[in-house]
């Protein structure tokens, strides 16, 4: 299994390490996610997961199980970020694919599934929470692909409740199905915006 770590230094922002592959550290992180998610159901939802229905946290439980089901077959497509507490903060599965753009078939990377840790999804303020994990994982994917000279076009299917988040990152809807694309140009703009944020006087 490939393990490649990029240090995502965020000056004045939360720091994350980007990890490639379902490493032992990642698998330990997923076991901890399960323990914490059950603890949150007990603490905040009276021990009944159905009380959490319709929340981001509930959707996160579902998405995490879907990602886990892919662990054996798609482990090499696993990407994640760890925060400054060394906790798994966000995880996703990517794969190389292609897409029609302006009547041309071009290479792209599909983010098949992405999910934040339970503490980064639950609406309650919990000590483990660290903002910026999802942004950091997208940044890591773009930089990894640039390093490997692969396509920096990203594709994903956004759940309706999260479309605004991806729009703010620079993704654009293609056909109203929820499919969203981050073009090469938008990927560069995204990296530039992050650099500007790091250099911003607003974070002094």
């Amino acid at each position: 299994m490939i393990k490649l770590v990029y240090c995502l230094k965020k000056i004045g922002m939360n720091e994350f390490n980007y990890v490639i592959g379902a490493t032992r550290q990642v698998r330990d992180g997923l076991i901890f996610w399960d323990e914490k998610a059950k603890e949150y159901v007990d603490t905040y939802y009276q021990g009944d997961e159905q009380n959490a229905r319709g929340t981001r946290f509930y959707r996160g439980i579902i998405k995490t199980r879907i990602i886990l089901d892919s662990l054996f077959e798609k482990g090499e497509g696993f990407r994640s970020v760890f925060d400054d507490q060394n906790l798994l903060a966000s995880a996703c599965i990517i794969e190389e694919t292609s897409i029609f753009l302006e009547e041309e078939l071009v290479d792209c990377i599909e983010i098949e599934s992405i999910v934040n840790s339970p503490w980064n999804l639950i609406k309650y303020l919990v000590p483990e929470k660290r903002k910026g994990a999802a942004t950091a994982i997208i940044e890591g994917i773009i930089k990894e692909n640039r390093e490997k000279r692969l396509s920096r076009i990203l594709k994903l299917f956004a759940v309706p409740e999260e479309k605004n988040f991806y729009t703010d990152l620079g993704f654009e809807e293609t056909n109203g199905s929820g499919e969203m694309i981050l073009s090469e140009n938008q990927a560069s703009m995204f990296l530039l915006a992050l650099d500007q944020k790091r250099n911003s006087t607003a974070f002094d």
Partner: protein, 97 residues
Amino acid sequence: MSFELPKTSQSKTYEPTPEQLARWKRLDENDGAIAGRMPSEEEQARIAKEFMNTDFVADQLEKVRIHKQKLLKKLEFAEEYEQQLIEKQQERKQKQS
């Protein structure tokens, strides 16, 4: 293998526009990313129930053992086929000589 991303300027000089500040605020507030196709409502309820009622480690152990058995069968097939092809190659060499 480890990569450190290029360091940005140490002195913070960038003056963000009001639009950028508003966007960064929204991104921080909405940083609860989930993407990818979701199953039907019924399937979601089933998965959520399974999550609560299943010992994660025991469940993963069972799944990894099933996966291991599948891989062992594939390995067994590959080894058998490899041996068959080696024998065929030797047979041809013997005929030629």
